[in-house]
Symmetry: C2
Subunit: 191 residues, 2 copies
Protein backbone atom coordinates (compact mmCIF):
# COMPACT_ATOMS: atom_id res chain seq x y z
CA UNK A 1 0.00 0.00 0.00
CA UNK A 2 1.25 3.46 -0.90
CA UNK A 3 2.06 6.18 1.58
CA UNK A 4 -0.69 8.87 1.73
CA UNK A 5 0.15 11.39 4.50
CA UNK A 6 2.46 14.38 4.07
CA UNK A 7 3.12 17.73 5.80
CA UNK A 8 1.65 21.00 4.51
CA UNK A 9 2.98 24.55 4.85
CA UNK A 10 1.66 28.07 4.15
CA UNK A 11 3.66 30.41 1.90
CA UNK A 12 3.42 34.15 2.60
CA UNK A 13 4.10 36.67 -0.15
CA UNK A 14 7.74 36.73 -1.24
CA UNK A 15 10.07 37.53 -4.11
CA UNK A 16 12.75 35.56 -5.94
CA UNK A 17 15.24 37.86 -7.68
CA UNK A 18 17.61 37.59 -10.60
CA UNK A 19 21.19 38.76 -10.02
CA UNK A 20 20.65 41.52 -12.61
CA UNK A 21 17.64 42.87 -10.70
CA UNK A 22 19.42 42.41 -7.35
CA UNK A 23 22.32 44.50 -8.69
CA UNK A 24 19.88 47.37 -9.28
CA UNK A 25 17.91 46.94 -6.04
CA UNK A 26 20.84 46.44 -3.66
CA UNK A 27 23.90 47.52 -5.66
CA UNK A 28 26.24 45.93 -8.20
CA UNK A 29 27.52 42.47 -7.24
CA UNK A 30 25.38 42.33 -4.10
CA UNK A 31 25.16 38.93 -2.36
CA UNK A 32 22.03 37.86 -0.49
CA UNK A 33 22.37 37.27 3.25
CA UNK A 34 20.75 34.07 4.58
CA UNK A 35 18.38 34.57 7.52
CA UNK A 36 17.19 30.95 7.77
CA UNK A 37 16.96 27.78 5.72
CA UNK A 38 13.60 26.79 4.24
CA UNK A 39 12.27 23.23 4.06
CA UNK A 40 13.38 22.74 0.44
CA UNK A 41 17.13 21.94 0.36
CA UNK A 42 19.24 24.91 -0.79
CA UNK A 43 16.37 27.43 -0.44
CA UNK A 44 16.52 30.11 2.24
CA UNK A 45 14.82 33.25 3.51
CA UNK A 46 17.05 36.33 3.31
CA UNK A 47 17.51 39.36 5.53
CA UNK A 48 16.76 41.54 2.51
CA UNK A 49 13.32 42.98 1.85
CA UNK A 50 11.87 45.16 -0.89
CA UNK A 51 8.67 47.14 -1.47
CA UNK A 52 6.44 46.18 -4.39
CA UNK A 53 4.29 48.89 -5.96
CA UNK A 54 1.21 48.28 -8.11
CA UNK A 55 -1.14 50.77 -9.76
CA UNK A 56 -3.46 50.77 -6.71
CA UNK A 57 -1.28 50.00 -3.70
CA UNK A 58 2.08 49.09 -2.20
CA UNK A 59 3.16 46.05 -0.18
CA UNK A 60 6.07 47.03 2.01
CA UNK A 61 8.82 44.75 3.30
CA UNK A 62 8.35 41.76 1.00
CA UNK A 63 11.06 39.24 1.85
CA UNK A 64 13.54 37.99 -0.73
CA UNK A 65 14.03 34.21 -0.91
CA UNK A 66 17.40 32.93 -2.08
CA UNK A 67 19.38 31.85 -3.96
CA UNK A 68 19.08 34.16 -6.98
CA UNK A 69 17.18 32.71 -9.96
CA UNK A 70 17.34 33.26 -13.73
CA UNK A 71 14.13 35.34 -13.59
CA UNK A 72 12.63 37.54 -10.90
CA UNK A 73 9.32 36.10 -9.68
CA UNK A 74 6.93 37.61 -7.11
CA UNK A 75 4.37 35.38 -5.37
CA UNK A 76 1.33 37.03 -3.79
CA UNK A 77 -2.16 36.02 -2.68
CA UNK A 78 -5.33 36.97 -4.56
CA UNK A 79 -6.08 39.54 -1.81
CA UNK A 80 -2.56 40.97 -2.27
CA UNK A 81 -3.13 41.23 -6.05
CA UNK A 82 -6.37 43.18 -5.48
CA UNK A 83 -4.59 45.47 -2.99
CA UNK A 84 -1.82 46.09 -5.54
CA UNK A 85 -4.36 46.64 -8.32
CA UNK A 86 -3.09 43.89 -10.63
CA UNK A 87 -4.97 40.84 -11.95
CA UNK A 88 -4.50 37.70 -9.83
CA UNK A 89 -2.97 35.12 -12.19
CA UNK A 90 -2.70 31.60 -10.76
CA UNK A 91 0.43 29.95 -12.21
CA UNK A 92 2.99 27.29 -11.53
CA UNK A 93 6.38 28.61 -10.47
CA UNK A 94 8.48 29.67 -13.46
CA UNK A 95 5.55 30.03 -15.89
CA UNK A 96 5.72 33.81 -16.23
CA UNK A 97 4.47 34.51 -19.76
CA UNK A 98 1.52 36.93 -19.79
CA UNK A 99 1.72 37.62 -16.06
CA UNK A 100 1.45 41.17 -14.70
CA UNK A 101 4.48 43.21 -13.69
CA UNK A 102 4.97 46.00 -11.17
CA UNK A 103 7.63 48.23 -9.65
CA UNK A 104 10.11 46.83 -7.11
CA UNK A 105 11.93 49.27 -4.82
CA UNK A 106 15.16 48.40 -3.03
CA UNK A 107 17.53 50.53 -0.98
CA UNK A 108 19.75 51.28 -4.00
CA UNK A 109 17.34 51.39 -6.91
CA UNK A 110 14.08 50.48 -8.58
CA UNK A 111 13.16 47.84 -11.15
CA UNK A 112 10.07 48.05 -13.39
CA UNK A 113 9.12 44.45 -14.07
CA UNK A 114 7.17 43.80 -17.26
CA UNK A 115 6.01 40.43 -15.90
CA UNK A 116 6.63 38.03 -13.05
CA UNK A 117 3.84 38.43 -10.48
CA UNK A 118 1.92 35.20 -9.87
CA UNK A 119 -0.49 33.65 -7.41
CA UNK A 120 1.35 30.36 -6.94
CA UNK A 121 -0.67 27.27 -7.82
CA UNK A 122 -0.77 24.81 -4.92
CA UNK A 123 1.72 21.99 -5.32
CA UNK A 124 3.57 19.18 -3.61
CA UNK A 125 7.36 18.80 -3.53
CA UNK A 126 8.63 15.22 -3.31
CA UNK A 127 12.00 13.55 -3.34
CA UNK A 128 12.32 10.78 -5.93
CA UNK A 129 12.05 8.23 -3.13
CA UNK A 130 8.78 9.82 -1.96
CA UNK A 131 7.42 9.61 -5.49
CA UNK A 132 7.94 5.87 -5.40
CA UNK A 133 6.45 5.51 -1.90
CA UNK A 134 3.36 7.57 -2.79
CA UNK A 135 3.08 5.95 -6.22
CA UNK A 136 2.99 9.24 -8.14
CA UNK A 137 5.02 10.74 -10.97
CA UNK A 138 6.46 14.19 -11.62
CA UNK A 139 3.73 16.57 -12.92
CA UNK A 140 0.89 14.25 -11.87
CA UNK A 141 -2.27 16.04 -10.71
CA UNK A 142 -3.72 14.76 -7.44
CA UNK A 143 -6.19 15.82 -4.75
CA UNK A 144 -5.35 16.45 -1.09
CA UNK A 145 -7.72 16.06 1.83
CA UNK A 146 -7.47 18.31 4.90
CA UNK A 147 -9.38 17.33 8.06
CA UNK A 148 -10.76 19.55 10.81
CA UNK A 149 -13.55 22.12 11.23
CA UNK A 150 -12.56 23.80 7.94
CA UNK A 151 -11.84 20.46 6.28
CA UNK A 152 -11.80 20.37 2.49
CA UNK A 153 -10.32 18.53 -0.48
CA UNK A 154 -7.96 20.52 -2.70
CA UNK A 155 -8.28 19.40 -6.33
CA UNK A 156 -5.78 20.24 -9.10
CA UNK A 157 -2.68 19.80 -6.93
CA UNK A 158 0.51 19.53 -8.99
CA UNK A 159 3.11 17.00 -7.84
CA UNK A 160 6.77 17.85 -8.47
CA UNK A 161 9.22 14.98 -7.99
CA UNK A 162 12.95 15.72 -8.00
CA UNK A 163 16.07 14.40 -6.24
CA UNK A 164 16.62 17.85 -4.64
CA UNK A 165 13.09 18.20 -3.20
CA UNK A 166 11.83 17.47 0.32
CA UNK A 167 8.34 16.13 0.97
CA UNK A 168 5.94 19.05 1.57
CA UNK A 169 2.74 20.52 0.16
CA UNK A 170 2.72 24.28 -0.38
CA UNK A 171 -0.39 26.47 -0.31
CA UNK A 172 -0.68 30.23 0.03
CA UNK A 173 -1.96 32.01 3.14
CA UNK A 174 -5.54 32.19 1.89
CA UNK A 175 -5.63 28.50 1.01
CA UNK A 176 -4.06 27.69 4.38
CA UNK A 177 -6.53 29.81 6.34
CA UNK A 178 -9.48 28.57 4.26
CA UNK A 179 -8.61 25.02 5.30
CA UNK A 180 -7.64 25.90 8.89
CA UNK A 181 -4.17 24.36 8.63
CA UNK A 182 -0.96 25.24 10.42
CA UNK A 183 2.59 24.64 9.20
CA UNK A 184 3.47 20.96 9.60
CA UNK A 185 -0.09 19.63 9.75
CA UNK A 186 -0.47 16.29 7.99
CA UNK A 187 -2.76 16.02 4.98
CA UNK A 188 -3.80 13.07 2.79
CA UNK A 189 -2.84 12.62 -0.84
CA UNK A 190 -5.71 11.19 -2.92
CA UNK A 191 -5.08 9.80 -6.41
CA UNK B 1 -33.51 13.90 -9.11
CA UNK B 2 -32.62 16.63 -6.63
CA UNK B 3 -31.30 20.05 -7.55
CA UNK B 4 -27.56 20.36 -6.94
CA UNK B 5 -26.32 23.77 -8.20
CA UNK B 6 -26.48 26.99 -6.21
CA UNK B 7 -24.79 30.41 -6.22
CA UNK B 8 -21.90 31.27 -3.87
CA UNK B 9 -20.83 34.64 -2.44
CA UNK B 10 -17.84 35.99 -0.51
CA UNK B 11 -18.39 37.81 2.80
CA UNK B 12 -15.92 40.55 3.73
CA UNK B 13 -15.39 41.51 7.36
CA UNK B 14 -18.43 43.21 8.89
CA UNK B 15 -20.24 43.89 12.13
CA UNK B 16 -23.81 43.30 13.31
CA UNK B 17 -24.71 45.61 16.22
CA UNK B 18 -27.21 45.56 19.05
CA UNK B 19 -29.30 48.71 19.56
CA UNK B 20 -27.62 49.18 22.97
CA UNK B 21 -24.14 49.19 21.40
CA UNK B 22 -25.35 51.33 18.48
CA UNK B 23 -26.63 53.89 21.01
CA UNK B 24 -23.11 54.18 22.39
CA UNK B 25 -21.29 54.12 19.04
CA UNK B 26 -23.57 56.50 17.14
CA UNK B 27 -25.69 58.19 19.82
CA UNK B 28 -28.86 57.38 21.75
CA UNK B 29 -31.76 56.16 19.60
CA UNK B 30 -29.67 56.15 16.43
CA UNK B 31 -31.22 54.43 13.40
CA UNK B 32 -29.07 52.64 10.80
CA UNK B 33 -29.11 54.04 7.26
CA UNK B 34 -29.51 51.45 4.49
CA UNK B 35 -26.88 51.67 1.72
CA UNK B 36 -28.00 48.59 -0.22
CA UNK B 37 -29.97 45.40 0.20
CA UNK B 38 -28.10 42.11 0.61
CA UNK B 39 -29.15 38.81 -0.94
CA UNK B 40 -30.84 37.57 2.22
CA UNK B 41 -34.32 39.18 2.51
CA UNK B 42 -34.44 41.97 5.12
CA UNK B 43 -30.65 42.17 5.46
CA UNK B 44 -28.80 45.25 4.24
CA UNK B 45 -25.41 46.98 4.20
CA UNK B 46 -25.42 50.31 6.04
CA UNK B 47 -23.69 53.61 5.42
CA UNK B 48 -22.27 53.41 8.94
CA UNK B 49 -18.76 52.09 9.63
CA UNK B 50 -16.74 51.58 12.80
CA UNK B 51 -13.13 50.83 13.70
CA UNK B 52 -12.34 47.62 15.56
CA UNK B 53 -9.26 47.55 17.80
CA UNK B 54 -7.51 44.41 19.01
CA UNK B 55 -4.40 44.05 21.18
CA UNK B 56 -2.11 44.02 18.13
CA UNK B 57 -3.84 46.03 15.43
CA UNK B 58 -6.84 48.00 14.20
CA UNK B 59 -9.16 47.41 11.26
CA UNK B 60 -10.59 50.73 10.15
CA UNK B 61 -13.92 51.31 8.44
CA UNK B 62 -15.65 47.99 9.14
CA UNK B 63 -19.15 48.20 7.68
CA UNK B 64 -22.25 47.68 9.83
CA UNK B 65 -24.87 45.29 8.43
CA UNK B 66 -28.50 45.86 9.44
CA UNK B 67 -30.97 45.46 10.94
CA UNK B 68 -29.83 45.58 14.58
CA UNK B 69 -29.61 42.20 16.32
CA UNK B 70 -29.98 41.07 19.95
CA UNK B 71 -26.17 40.69 20.24
CA UNK B 72 -23.29 42.50 18.57
CA UNK B 73 -21.30 40.08 16.37
CA UNK B 74 -18.14 40.82 14.39
CA UNK B 75 -17.14 38.55 11.50
CA UNK B 76 -13.51 38.58 10.34
CA UNK B 77 -11.15 36.32 8.40
CA UNK B 78 -8.34 34.32 10.01
CA UNK B 79 -5.84 36.82 8.56
CA UNK B 80 -7.88 39.68 10.10
CA UNK B 81 -7.84 37.90 13.49
CA UNK B 82 -4.03 37.60 13.36
CA UNK B 83 -3.75 41.27 12.37
CA UNK B 84 -5.97 42.23 15.32
CA UNK B 85 -4.03 39.96 17.68
CA UNK B 86 -6.99 37.80 18.73
CA UNK B 87 -7.47 34.04 18.34
CA UNK B 88 -9.36 33.05 15.16
CA UNK B 89 -12.44 31.15 16.38
CA UNK B 90 -14.50 29.49 13.64
CA UNK B 91 -18.17 29.56 14.68
CA UNK B 92 -21.68 29.51 13.32
CA UNK B 93 -23.45 32.86 13.44
CA UNK B 94 -24.97 33.53 16.87
CA UNK B 95 -22.78 31.04 18.76
CA UNK B 96 -20.74 33.59 20.70
CA UNK B 97 -19.87 31.83 23.98
CA UNK B 98 -16.10 31.77 24.60
CA UNK B 99 -15.31 33.96 21.60
CA UNK B 100 -12.82 36.84 21.87
CA UNK B 101 -13.89 40.45 22.30
CA UNK B 102 -12.29 43.74 21.32
CA UNK B 103 -12.88 47.47 21.30
CA UNK B 104 -15.30 49.03 18.78
CA UNK B 105 -14.98 52.76 18.07
CA UNK B 106 -17.81 54.81 16.56
CA UNK B 107 -18.16 58.55 16.00
CA UNK B 108 -19.94 59.10 19.34
CA UNK B 109 -18.38 56.50 21.62
CA UNK B 110 -16.56 53.23 22.24
CA UNK B 111 -17.74 49.78 23.28
CA UNK B 112 -15.49 47.18 24.90
CA UNK B 113 -16.93 43.84 23.82
CA UNK B 114 -16.23 40.88 26.12
CA UNK B 115 -17.06 38.47 23.29
CA UNK B 116 -18.54 38.38 19.81
CA UNK B 117 -15.70 38.15 17.29
CA UNK B 118 -15.96 35.06 15.07
CA UNK B 119 -14.57 33.64 11.86
CA UNK B 120 -17.89 32.65 10.30
CA UNK B 121 -18.21 28.96 9.46
CA UNK B 122 -19.14 28.45 5.81
CA UNK B 123 -22.83 27.79 5.32
CA UNK B 124 -25.71 27.66 2.87
CA UNK B 125 -28.92 29.65 3.19
CA UNK B 126 -31.99 28.02 1.65
CA UNK B 127 -35.66 28.82 1.46
CA UNK B 128 -37.94 25.99 2.64
CA UNK B 129 -38.79 25.28 -1.00
CA UNK B 130 -35.08 24.96 -1.85
CA UNK B 131 -34.63 22.52 1.01
CA UNK B 132 -37.24 20.27 -0.60
CA UNK B 133 -35.73 20.65 -4.08
CA UNK B 134 -32.19 19.89 -2.85
CA UNK B 135 -33.44 17.13 -0.56
CA UNK B 136 -31.71 18.52 2.55
CA UNK B 137 -32.88 19.54 6.03
CA UNK B 138 -32.11 22.48 8.30
CA UNK B 139 -28.74 21.97 10.08
CA UNK B 140 -27.66 19.16 7.73
CA UNK B 141 -23.92 19.04 6.99
CA UNK B 142 -23.03 18.71 3.31
CA UNK B 143 -20.04 19.16 1.00
CA UNK B 144 -19.80 21.64 -1.86
CA UNK B 145 -17.70 21.24 -5.00
CA UNK B 146 -16.13 24.26 -6.72
CA UNK B 147 -14.72 23.82 -10.24
CA UNK B 148 -11.91 25.72 -11.96
CA UNK B 149 -8.12 26.05 -11.64
CA UNK B 150 -8.41 26.38 -7.83
CA UNK B 151 -11.19 23.78 -7.68
CA UNK B 152 -11.84 22.11 -4.33
CA UNK B 153 -14.53 20.43 -2.25
CA UNK B 154 -15.57 22.23 0.92
CA UNK B 155 -16.53 19.71 3.62
CA UNK B 156 -18.43 20.57 6.82
CA UNK B 157 -20.84 23.00 5.17
CA UNK B 158 -23.85 23.81 7.38
CA UNK B 159 -27.23 24.07 5.64
CA UNK B 160 -29.74 26.53 7.11
CA UNK B 161 -33.30 26.18 5.82
CA UNK B 162 -35.85 28.88 6.69
CA UNK B 163 -38.85 30.53 4.99
CA UNK B 164 -37.05 33.91 5.13
CA UNK B 165 -33.80 32.72 3.48
CA UNK B 166 -32.72 32.99 -0.16
CA UNK B 167 -30.60 30.30 -1.82
CA UNK B 168 -26.90 31.17 -1.46
CA UNK B 169 -23.68 29.71 -0.05
CA UNK B 170 -21.56 32.08 2.05
CA UNK B 171 -17.80 31.79 2.46
CA UNK B 172 -15.31 34.35 3.74
CA UNK B 173 -12.78 36.15 1.53
CA UNK B 174 -10.01 33.66 2.21
CA UNK B 175 -12.23 30.69 1.39
CA UNK B 176 -13.45 32.48 -1.72
CA UNK B 177 -9.95 33.35 -2.93
CA UNK B 178 -8.63 29.87 -2.05
CA UNK B 179 -11.24 28.39 -4.38
CA UNK B 180 -10.97 31.10 -7.05
CA UNK B 181 -14.69 31.95 -6.95
CA UNK B 182 -16.47 35.20 -7.70
CA UNK B 183 -19.82 36.34 -6.36
CA UNK B 184 -22.62 34.49 -8.16
CA UNK B 185 -20.53 31.55 -9.39
CA UNK B 186 -22.45 28.27 -9.31
CA UNK B 187 -21.23 25.46 -7.07
CA UNK B 188 -22.43 21.89 -6.54
CA UNK B 189 -24.01 20.57 -3.35
CA UNK B 190 -22.86 17.02 -2.54
CA UNK B 191 -24.69 14.94 0.06
Amino acid sequence: MSKTMLPIALSNKHIHVSQADLDVLYGSGYELSKMKDLSQPGQYACDEKVDIVGPKGTLKGVRILGPVRPDTQIEVSIADAFALGIPPVVRNSGELNDTPGLKVIGPKGEVDLEKGVIVAARHIHMHTTDGEEFGVNDKQIVSVKVNGPRGLVFDNVLVRVHPTYALEMHVDLEEGNASGIKNGDLVELIK
